[in-house]
Each structure stands twice: as structure tokens, then as C-alpha cells.
């Protein structure tokens, strides 16, 4: 599979969360992901972009940058914002931690569970960058059997 990339910037509106899922799932479909894996990618994307809308910009206007790349049969996703940043990253990663009673605090847990790797870089007042990657299970098996 040739390397490929896509970069897109959009306003931090709740309506654009579903758009981001469609973009990422369409791009990811270039690799040999199963439907279940694509569903996991959709959930992880939804969580990362939702976090920008809810937490980074706190429902005010801002821009979200989505950078996608296919390299070495692996999907790489970067979600970047220039919002308020995360002051305490370890607290934010605590399961069920949420600043909103209507939310379950599971966004980061889902991203970690559904992707192969997930890292967050954040600077208070500067913004946050979430990096996630995933390789199709079928590609791994092919390499394992020498096919």
C-alpha cells in the first residue's frame, strides 16, 4: 500500500463530529480493516474530536485539525486543537473522570482500548495534540505467515 495522507481543518462544532468519523472511516477503508476495526476507529475519532469541542474550546469557536496518514500498512490519526490545553493529564486519564455530570469520562479509555497506540501532548493555554494509530489485524497475520 502506497503512503497517503489527508489534512483537513474544520470549526469545532458538534455537527462536525460525525463528519470527522465519515472522513476517517473512508480514509481508513484503504487498508484491510474489518468492519469491527473500522467501528473502533470511528469511536476513537469521535471521542478525540468531541473532546476538542467540549473541553478544548468549551463549546466556543475554534478550529480542529485532523491529519491522517497511511504508512507501513498503518493508519495514523492526529487530532489537533489550539484550545485551553489539559492542566493535569494524569487526572484527565483517570477512568470515569469527567467535569460534566452528563458525561462518563470514557473518551480517553475508548481511544486507548480501540487503537494500537494513543498519546496526548498538551500545554495549558496552547492546545492539545492526540496521536493514535492502528494496523489491520489481517495485515499482521499476513506478515506472520509470510504471505
Amino acid at each position: 500500500m502506497k503512503e497517503n495522507y489527508l489534512k483537513v481543518t474544520f470549526p469545532s462544532l458538534p455537527e462536525n463530529v460525525s463528519l470527522s468519523r465519515v472522513i476517517v472511516a473512508s480514509f481508513a477503508a484503504q487498508l484491510d480493516f474489518t468492519l469491527n476495526e473500522l467501528e473502533e476507529i470511528r469511536v476513537a475519532t469521535s471521542e478525540a474530536v468531541s473532546n476538542c469541542v467540549i473541553h478544548a474550546y468549551r463549546q466556543t469557536s475554534g478550529e480542529i485539525r485532523l491529519e491522517l496518514k497511511i504508512k507501513d500498512d498503518t493508519l495514523q490519526i492526529k487530532v489537533l486543537d489550539q484550545g485551553c490545553g489539559i492542566s493535569d493529564l494524569s487526572l484527565a486519564k483517570t477512568p470515569a473522570y469527567s467535569t460534566d455530570p452528563e458525561r462518563m469520562g470514557l473518551g480517553l479509555i475508548f481511544m486507548e482500548s480501540f487503537m494500537d497506540e494513543m498519546t496526548i501532548e498538551s500545554e495549558p493555554g496552547q492546545g492539545t495534540q492526540v496521536y493514535m494509530c492502528k494496523k489491520p489485524e489481517r495485515s499482521r497475520s499476513d506478515h506472520g505467515t509470510g504471505q
Binding site: P14, E39, V53, I54, M104, G105
Partner: protein, 112 residues
């Protein structure tokens, strides 16, 4: 997201269609809370996911929020026709501690 609500005895049956995420969960919350406020006889809620295409943690939060309202009425929260990928999300989230999954609407209605 489209929500179809109907009452059967003391149970509110909500058929969820489409996507339940950050953009649509406020409408989900508002429609169910309005119905619960209007009709104090309702005690239980069954969510039918036959037509649901996508749910993320925003949707799960909206579901958990409705359980809190039902708990005040000593009611139960159930889900039916849950596809495998959603079942996994419910498991991971811990929502199954307060929500029971049944294979069909009929079975859920019989057990409540």
C-alpha cells in the same frame, strides 16, 4: 438521530435510530426527560437499538443520565436488539451494572 417514544403500561419504549453522539445526545436527553416529566406513571425505560447506527461516550452519558431519573422512581433501564459492537461499548463503560440487555423487546417486557 430519531427517537420514537411509546408507553406500554409503566414502561416507556424508546426506539433509537441513527447516531447518538455529541451532536444528537442533547435531543435524546430532552425528548426522554420531557416524556418522563409529562407522564409520572412511567417507571421503566426500554431502549431499542435495532435501528441505531452509532453510539459513543456522549451517547452513553446521555443513557446513564436517564437511568438517574428512573432510579428516583425505582424504575429499571433495559436495552434490546443490541448489535455486538454496541454490546462491547456497554460492557467497557460499566453501563451494564445499571442496564440489562434482553434479546428482544418481548422478553424485556415480560421480565420487567
Amino acid at each position: 438521530m430519531k427517537l420514537e417514544l411509546r408507553r406500554n403500561g409503566t414502561t416507556l419504549i424508546a426506539q433509537v435510530s441513527g447516531e447518538l453522539d455529541l451532536s444528537t445526545s442533547p435531543a435524546f436527553r430532552e425528548q426522554i426527560e420531557t416524556k418522563l416529566a409529562e407522564d409520572q406513571l412511567i417507571q421503566h425505560l426500554i431502549l431499542d437499538f435495532t435501528e441505531a447506527e452509532f453510539v459513543d461516550s456522549s451517547g452513553l452519558g446521555a443513557i446513564l443520565g436517564r437511568y438517574k431519573t428512573l432510579a428516583q422512581r425505582k424504575g429499571r433501564l433495559s436495552a434490546v436488539n443490541v448489535p455486538p459492537h454496541l454490546h462491547r461499548l456497554f460492557e467497557l463503560s460499566g453501563l451494564l451494572k445499571v442496564m440489562t440487555i434482553y434479546p428482544s423487546l418481548q422478553e424485556a417486557q415480560n421480565k420487567i
